[in-house]
Symmetry: C2
Subunit: 344 residues, 2 copies
DNA sequence: AACAGTTTGGAAACCGGTCTACAAATCTTG
DNA sequence: CAAGATTTGTAGACCGGTTTCCAAACTGTT
């Protein structure tokens, strides 16, 4: 039965199994899906044949009528440890279920919609996404086609679930903490965005809360923006520090904050001169060499919760939308431990 | 034309497009695939209808006869920045091509094969994988079904391509460097594995080279193993350091090395007491707060190269296998800068 | 005008599953 | 033991694309 070399082997189809077992295709299908109407003997015979032929159904064919048993996760950025935490949480929740998780990395800019379409084209049974740049109207339409959970969306939706942390509270915790440490000149480094959706994104809300918190205490905001890249965050951070006008920086997230720490070190300074606070509480933030004060939004938990919500839709058939909000917590560490220095 | 609310919208099919444009399904298919035999007027008319209906072909249906335009990437672990670098390299190379990349995270242990099967069931057009635990025979069979590039495999394969760095050289660079710095008691922390494939895995080869390099200079190896997790690496590293018997640790990769740095700091020690060298040169290694001496294996480049090899198979139709080896380079940083301390 | 060669568009088979509808076989029950 | 109910297995339609094959229309040539 040796195959002619060079020629690709054809994997067995359900027909092959049916023929080998001397039954119908429909019977094999029933056995595979654990459907009703199969005698123990038939099940046994078919299962043995399946094992013998090493048969596995092709997902594409299955998709055309049934389900794909695939859950798609879109993340805007591969390099940010926060997202890998979310995925780890999601992944753990999926273990043991028949669902396979696939991750589609974003393409940068406002191209998140393309990735979501691409997942939808692959007919995943449901999807989880973090796409701040995509419009709500567009998502509502997509949500009507496919079960969906969006992370980091503060608007309540109709056709899909939303899951976020209380970014306003989180930012307030961070900024208040710096003020309590005696800081008066606190800058904010955030990700630039010319989208009109900006005010409702996590970074937009943190930005707003930063300004509100400062102004409530009579302090002046100093806002700097950067692109979603290490190099850009480094440059923006370095400029802020070099200006000598500030004693603390509240950075939009931990990944960027760590670049600010890099700039600080490259300028031969420490967090005693300029305190740094991030957002997300990625694992690295607790590393003693980094020891970054930050706000935890429980990424692993969010990932797990997102899967729960999604499975409620896929398996449970829920169609009304839910909006869950996680309460963030401040994590005080060395990067904001020193008292605020005096500016000369 | 409003849809009854609550009912899921059905997305348009190729038939809908054909009907709306007043042509046949086959014609629409030809237009989409840019196939031969379509007049400019027909192309125009169909394309307009496609745009109007916002039609996008379903990948599953397309897969049944044609291609999926999907490339699957299996990675053993989400948390390791080295893998995200590889994927970033792959992703950048795919930009602008019609192929979409999907990532399937491993399930830990030796369950890599399951993920590969799962990708194969989804009929990706090709896949890239990093599965040290899977047997070569099994991979050869899979390679006959689907274009495949394996990373970190030192064996030459027949049905798929292999791409690796010279781990023996890399480990030798690392260990020699420590010896030149005056270290005599150099430990190695590596990932445990009871697989028989161990000697041919990257970590196995680094381990072998470590021993060979030490013994060539008449030094005694001290090997410690840990699981593929931060907590385990931390514990193993801490134990090695606390033993007081060594002045340097060559760690299997950067992600684990950074956990060793954590243990070191928690013990109120610095790399002046125990030098640390990693492997991979992840972006974080160059952070001044970390400044980890390591060996670069050019992850981004490897990711890009893997895609090139894969596309040669998918698009170019190459069937003979290739085996590419990248030459690693030492990156000297602060974690090994101090002269070796004397052991009391 | 007749003919061969080339373009163009469509009908229908096909991919590999799921699912519906139904017939045959078996089991209950009076 | 007949009638009805239930269980078991199958044929065939179906999903939405791709691909093959063929007929019709058009082109150019003599």
């Amino acid at each position: 039965m040796a195959q002619p070399s060079g020629e690709a082997r054809r994997r067995p189809s359900m027909d092959d199994v049916a023929r080998a077992a001397g039954v119908s295709k429909a019977a094999v299908s029933k056995v595979i899906r654990h459907a009703y109407g199969v005698s123990p003997e038939m099940r046994d015979r078919v299962e043995r044949t399946i094992a013998e032929l090493e048969y596995r159904p092709r997902v594409a064919a299955r998709v055309m009528r049934g389900q794909s048993f695939t859950i798609g996760v879109e993340i805007p950025n591969l390099g940010n440890e926060f997202f890998t935490e979310v995925m780890a949480g999601a992944s753990s929740k999926l273990r043991g279920s028949p669902y396979q998780m696939i991750i589609a990395p974003g393409l940068g800019d406002g191209r998140g919609a393309q990735v979501l379409e691409s997942l939808s084209d692959r007919q995943v049974d449901g999807m989880i996404a973090i796409s701040p740049g995509v419009s709500s109207e567009w998502l509502e339409r997509l949500g009507e086609e496919i079960p969906m959970v969006m992370l980091g969306r503060h608007d309540r939706a109709i056709s899909y679930d939303t899951l976020t942390n209380d970014d306003a509270l989180g930012a307030e915790l961070a900024v208040s903490h710096l003020i309590e440490r005696g800081h008066q000149r606190i800058a904010h480094l955030t990700i630039s965005s010319d989208e009109e959706s900006w005010p409702r994104t996590p970074h937009g809300i943190r930005h707003r809360a930063y300004i509100d918190t400062l102004e409530a205490r009579g302090l002046t905001p100093v806002v700097s923006t950067c692109e979603y890249s290490s190099a850009s965050a480094y440059a923006a951070g370095r400029e802020l520090i070099a200006s000598g006008q500030i004693t603390a920086i509240f950075v939009g997230n931990d990944a960027l904050a760590i670049e600010v720490l890099r700039a600080l070190a490259d300028l031969d300074l420490t967090t005693d001169s300029v305190a740094v606070v991030g957002y997300d509480d990625i694992p690295l933030a607790s590393h003693p060499r980094i020891s970054l004060t930050t706000v935890s939004q429980f990424g692993r938990h969010m990932g797990a919760l997102a899967i729960e919500l999604l499975l409620e839709r896929i398996v449970g058939g829920r169609t009304d939308s839910r909006h869950e909000v996680v309460t963030p917590e401040l994590r005080m560490r060395a990067s904001s431990a020193a008292p605020a220095p005096l500016l000369n």
